[in-house]
Structures are given as C-alpha cells and as structure tokens.
C-alpha cells in the first residue's frame, strides 16, 4: 500500500480559480499528514498521469463542470480508480439543481424545499418568453432567486424583486448554461452544514452561519477574506441546529452521496429549508467545510487524510444511488 494521492484541481469550469485554491490547500494538508501528493489538472494527459502513479487515490477538488457533475467520476468508476467523494451518477444528480431539489423534496420526508421551476432556454423561445415570465411571477412570486441549474459559487445568481427584473436575470443565468432555475426566495438565517464520513457513517459537522457584509453571499463575499462573517456553530437554538443537521444528513442520504458533502440551507421561522447540496465543497481559506471541521475540534489535515484512507479501503464496487 502506498501513500500516493493525486489531487485534481483546475478544470475548465467558471470556478477554475476557486478549484485551484481549494486544491492547493488539500494538497498541502495531505503532505502535512505524510502523503505523497501529485497535483494535476484535468486535461488530455490526466489518465496517463494517473496510470503512472502506483496505487493512487484521486482526491477531486474540482468545482463546476465535468469535475462536479459526475462526468469525470464516472470515468474513474469505469476504470476502477479509487477516489474521494460521491460516485458519478450521484454527483450528476446532486450537481443539477433542477434534479437535486425535487429528489430531496421527494426522498427527505418532512423537510422543506423552495418552490422551484427549471426551464431550458428554448422553452422561452418556443412558448413565448412573456407568457412564461408572467407564469413564473404568478406561481413562484416575488422576491425570487434565479440561478443556473448547473453552476456554483453563486455565479449567475440574481435575486429578483419585481417582474421587470426577471428577463435580465434569466438571461444572466443562461450565460452559464442551458437551464435556469427560478425559485422562491427564502428569507432567513443562511447556514451551511457539512457532512463527512470518515469510516463510521455520515455525520453532520457544526452548522456555519454566513453573514455577508454586503448582505449578499456572492462571489466577492465568498472568496475575499473579511467580506463575510462566519459564526460557528451557527447562532441557532439547539432544536434548530439539530434540524439543520438532520436535513443535511437526509439530503446526503437521499442523493446517495458518500464521503463528504455540504448542504446550504436557510433557517426560516425555526425550520431549515434546503437550498442546494455540493459534492465538491470549497476547500479554500474562506470556505465553509474547513470552518466546520475546525468547529468540530478536528483538524482539516486529519479529515483529508481520513477521507483518503476511506477511499483507499473501498473496493472497486461503487455504491450507486
């Protein structure tokens, strides 16, 4: 058995920069725990690179695109390459908000999800944008959130408070992909709950509360140190915190995820509402999962090492959802 780990970061998605930052942090953590780490990007030489390393575990720290949508993980499944994180099929479902939200709504009984509609751009062209926009206003109501179905880091997301803003917000979301999500805006306490499984089954880490200085947890607020206040554990009652943990675990299970995930949710009137789940949570200096690990009195490096160990011990058979 070797200590070889290949940390995958970069990729071609809009979140490449975030991924590179996350990857460097994970790679350093694994080096600190005695692993031999190779950092690699996703390109035509990747499979040769992996083949050249003896008995590696791949740690994908790719945000967005093929790294998070399951495409690359399906290749690893096919080639019996061991890796940290959820399977290709599970990632595919989780990454697409147009699919994951209804799945959580159906399978995580007793938890709330926002009213949501997902629409490809050609629907607007074929059915007439004005009609659909009017229907969205009536059915979802204002304020509402508009976002790309398959993207992260709040890229392409807009809060829409009146009908006149809706077309531009939808066009902005379509700049990132072919399907836009329009969903009810949930007002409340913004919280992220990370789930990790280092061998003893999935467990929820302490909730991290997010208080962006500008009021909006956008790209700048996410990745500029100082722009957001993080409170760990979140300033919630014990009952609320417990419900948040239950929801994150329920989403993790409902989507068939493994090893690690992060569920973003909003606590409204004492009850958490599911917003989205991430199979490749950010690992940067300002990211939520590392903060949650710290709040649980564990070390980031040890958790990364434990995730690698779990992946290494896993048989080639994948646990499909």
């Amino acid at each position: 058995m070797t200590d070889n780990v290949i940390v995958l970061a970069g990729g071609l998605s809009h979140e490449r920069d975030v991924s590179l930052r996350s990857g460097r942090r994970v790679a350093q953590a694994l080096r600190d725990t005695g692993h031999t780490v190779l950092e690699a990007d996703v390109n035509a030489s990747l499979l040769d690179t992996i083949a050249a390393v003896a008995d590696p575990v791949v740690f994908p720290v790719l945000h967005g695109g093929a790294g998070e949508d399951g495409a690359l993980r399906s290749v690893f499944d096919l080639l019996d390459i061991r890796y940290v994180g959820s399977t290709g099929p599970a990632s595919r479902i989780a990454f697409d908000k147009a699919v994951s939200t209804p799945v959580v709504a159906a399978r995580a009984a007793g938890f709330r999800t926002p009213r949501q509609s997902s629409l490809p751009h050609d629907m607007f062209r074929e059915l007439g944008a004005a009609n659909l926009i009017a229907a969205l206003g009536e059915q979802i109501g204002f304020p509402m959130m508009v976002k790309p179905a398959r993207s992260g880091s709040a890229l392409g997301c807009t809060k829409v408070t009146q009908a006149s803003e809706l077309p531009a917000a939808i066009v902005a979301a379509f700049a990132y992909g072919d399907i836009a999500i329009v969903e009810e805006f949930i007002e409340g306490v913004e919280v992220a709950v990370s789930v990790i499984d280092t061998g003893g089954g999935p467990r929820a880490l302490p909730a991290v509360e997010i208080r962006p200085r500008s009021g909006v947890y956008d790209y700048t607020a996410r990745y500029t140190a100082g722009e957001t206040r993080f409170v760990t554990p979140a300033d919630l009652s014990d009952a609320e915190a417990a419900r948040c943990a239950e929801l994150a675990l329920a989403a993790h299970e409902a989507l068939g995820l493994r090893d690690l995930s992060r569920t973003d949710l909003i606590v409204r009137d004492g009850e958490p509402v599911f917003i989205e789940v991430n199979v490749a949570p950010g690992m940067t200096e300002t990211s939520l999962l590392p903060l949650a690990i710290e709040a649980s009195d564990a070390s980031f490096a040890e958790v990364c090492a434990a995730l690698v160990r779990v992946a290494r011990q896993r048989s080639g058979d994948t646990d499909l959802p």
Partner: protein
C-alpha cells in the same frame, strides 16, 4: 439577534479587516477576475491578456551573452545600484527615445521597475486624496488601479477616432476647477491607446499640448507601444514637442517584460523628487536587468528585432481584423489600430460585455469587459481584444467563437425583449460608451 454564546466563534477570517487603509476598499476578489483563470487553459483562445509575444527573441544568443555578462561584470551587476538607475542605462534610454524624436539628457531619466512603477512614482509625488487625474475615456486599467491606490479622482475626457478631444479637455479642466477640484495632471497614451488602439495624429498632439499649456495642466505621456507602429514611422512623441511633458517608457514591449525595466523622463525638479521617491520605494531599480538590457542594446540588432516584432504583430492584427469582419454580428463595430496590441469592440445596443463573458468562456474565448477601462461605470457595451499573443490562426478562431457568443446573446435578448432597453440591468448598463470606433 440574540447575543452569541462564548463557545461560538465569530470570524471574518481576517483579524485585520478593520485596520486596512480606506484605499484598499476596492481590492476584492471578483467573478470577472476569476474567469480569467480559465483563459489560461490552452483550450481557450485568450484575447484578454496583453502579454507581449517574445517567442522570436534570439534566446540562445542572449543566453551566451548573459553568461559573458555574469562572468565579466557579475559582482557589479548583482550589487545594489543607483536609486536613479545606472548612468549607462540612462544613456542608452536617451538613444532609444531619439527614435521618437525625443531629445533628452540622461540626468533627467529615472529608471523604474517597468513603466508601471513609473506611474506609481509620478502619482505618489503629485496626488493627495481627492485630487483629479484626467485620463482618456477609456484608459489603461493598470494606471487606474495605481490612481485609485492613491485615492485620486479619475475624470475621463472624451475621445474621437484621433484620440483626446482638445475641447473636451478644456471643458473638463474649467468645470473641475470651477468646482474647486485640484486637477493635477493629464494621463494620456497617444500611441495605440490601451484599450482602444487609437492613435493621436501629430496635429492632435499639438492641440492637446496647447490646451494643457494654456491651462497649466501637467501632461504625463505613457508610450509603451510607439515603436510597434505597423505601417509608416512612429509619430513624434508629445515630449519631443514640449520638454515639460513627463514621459514614461518601457522595454517590456520592445524587448522583454521580465526584466521589469521602464523609465520616466521628467523636468529636472520633478526628476529630483522621483529619484528620492524611488529610493524610498525600492532603493535601486534592478541592476542586473539594467546590465542585461544595456548588453542587449549594445550587442544585438535591437532595431531589427523591433522590425521583426512589428511584422509578427501585423500578421496577428490582420488576423483579428479579418476575423472580426467575417464573424461579428451586425451592429458590432471595432477600431483598426496601426500598432500596439488592442482592438476595441463596441457591441450591438443592449448587450453587456460583462454579462456576456461567461457565455464567451463557455465558447472557449476570453476578453476583457470594457467597464474595466472606465472609472465611472461606462464601457458596458465594449470589450478589449488583444491580438498580441495567440497565433494568427487562433486569433481568427477566437473571433469566430466570440461571434457565436454574441449572436447567441443577441438571440437571447430578442427572446426576452431586452433589446428595447426597458428591462436591462440598471446597475451596470449605463448606456452606450462613447463612440470611439
């Protein structure tokens, strides 16, 4: 909100967040900046960066020459040097400036770490917070970053196809002074303006200088690209017509940017302060780089190398202009530069180049949105395209991809009725930029 329990950690992940200077307020991460990380991938045709293409340099010969330099003058070349820069380098710079009709004394040259640091020094010695710097509309993003760092107020002056408008300059100065503002200097890039590629003809330079002289406005002339004129000879520098002009030069485009050697030529009294400011900033500009560049100028055909660069950039410019003609949707316009690195594109009405960028990246092409080149929010319909680095074939392909992204965005706008202007973003879209095409 309830008070936090002692066991809770409340952090902004930066213990110094309340201690930074006010001028750092805009130094934050942005999604647009992050998208440029994707542009570095080989799959993406990056028309974003302004990186000089130095692949044609005679690297083997340079290596042998630098080896000789280290063996014969290494101890001196790797030591601290003069704060003003080495005399032999300043003498060489005077020779280089003569190519653009400038007559100067080496004593009036201060060597800097690229002309970017010359900008920093000039701003440092002239600007108090709130002072006004006049700049072309649009202007070099890196200069505006420096001006902002010194809390200057940037006021843009309109351009036409011949660059700065003298009447607009006059009106701006008069109006700003009437409002009690201290107008400290005019920052201008007369040759192949970054980002527009527009050049001021000789007569326009005279007119601008006449207005500046009449109103007592100092002129800072930034000229990194003048020797990269494609057709014809470089136009005489403004400094050649007026010794009071502060002139910024650089070897980054005519040789190589990695040496970080630029310079500022200034009237005697100004030069004195610049030298003292330079000593405070870096003690001495890179001595080894000065030796290396002087060695290059002495022993290589640097004029021939510039001619090679010009023809290499001409092929790239032609590929870009051909590509734009072939691929841009109706309603798109662009400039046709005779040198430098950049073409300035104006999108059809209603489109926003910043909103378009993720779609362009999906198509594997990148550019810089026009708003980066304005301090006042204009430029949403514009983008800067660089033709300096990719091969002509890749540039042409990049324009094809860009054309598709624009066409798709136009279709989207048509679907959603956004071309009427009624439903546009109001925060970013401040209407069309000045027509500089």
């Amino acid at each position: 909100m309830s008070s936090l329990e002692p066991s809770r950690r409340d952090t902004r992940l930066d213990p110094y967040i309340d201690q930074y200077a006010d001028r750092t307020g805009s130094m934050t991460v942005s999604a647009v900046r992050a998208l440029f990380a994707v542009a570095n991938r080989p799959e993406v045709v990056s028309l974003a960066g302004g990186m000089p293409n130095i692949a044609d340099l005679p690297l083997a010969d340079l290596g042998a020459s630098f080896d000789q330099l280290i063996q014969t003058k290494g101890v001196q070349a790797m030591q601290y040097g003069s704060g003003q820069g080495e005399l032999f380098m300043r003498e060489k710079i005077v020779e280089v400036m003569a190519e653009e009709a400038i007559t100067a004394n080496p004593d009036d040259v201060v060597i800097t770490c690229g002309s970017q640091q010359a900008l920093d020094l000039v701003t440092r010695i002239f600007i108090d917070p709130g002072d006004v710097i006049l700049a072309e509309a649009p202007s070099y993003v890196g200069a505006m970053g420096t001006f902002n760092a010194y809390q200057a107020q940037i006021h843009h002056v309109e351009m036409d196809e011949d660059g700065l408008l003298p009447d607009a300059l006059r009106q701006a100065v008069v109006a700003l002074r009437a409002a009690g503002k201290a107008v400290k200097f005019l920052y201008t890039i007369p040759n192949f303006n970054n980002p527009t590629g527009i050049t001021q003809p000789l007569e326009r330079r005279r007119e601008v200088l006449a207005v500046a002289r009449e109103l007592g406005v100092l002129v800072v002339e930034d000229n990194p690209y003048g020797l990269l004129t494609i057709e014809g000879e470089p136009i005489d520098a403004m400094r050649s017509m007026d010794p009071e002009v502060i002139y910024l030069g650089s070897f980054s485009k005519t040789f190589a940017p990695g040496f970080r050697v630029g310079w500022v030529l200034a009237p005697h009294a100004v030069r004195e302060r610049l030298t003292i400011a330079q000593e405070a900033a870096v003690l001495s500009p890179p001595v080894f780089s000065q030796f290396a560049i002087a060695n290059y100028l002495d022993n290589f055909d640097w004029r021939g190398q510039i001619a090679t660069f010009r023809s290499m950039y001409q092929a790239r410019r032609d590929a870009m202009l051909d590509g734009l003609s072939a691929h841009m949707p109706t309603g798109t316009t662009w400039t046709s530069p005779n040198g430098g690195f950049f073409v300035w594109v104006t999108l059809p009405e209603g489109l926003d180049s910043q909103a378009l960028l993720p779609r362009a990246v999906n198509e594997r092409v990148a550019y810089v949105p026009g708003t980066a080149f304005y301090a006042d929010g204009f430029g949403s319909r514009n983008m800067r395209l660089s033709y300096c680095f990719p091969t002509p074939e890749r540039i042409y392909e990049g324009t094809r991809r860009l054309g598709k992204a624009i066409a798709d965005e136009l279709e989207m706008h048509a679907t959603f009725g956004l071309d009427t202007g009624e439903h546009r973003h109001t925060d970013r879209n401040l209407g069309p930029a000045p027509d500089v095409s």
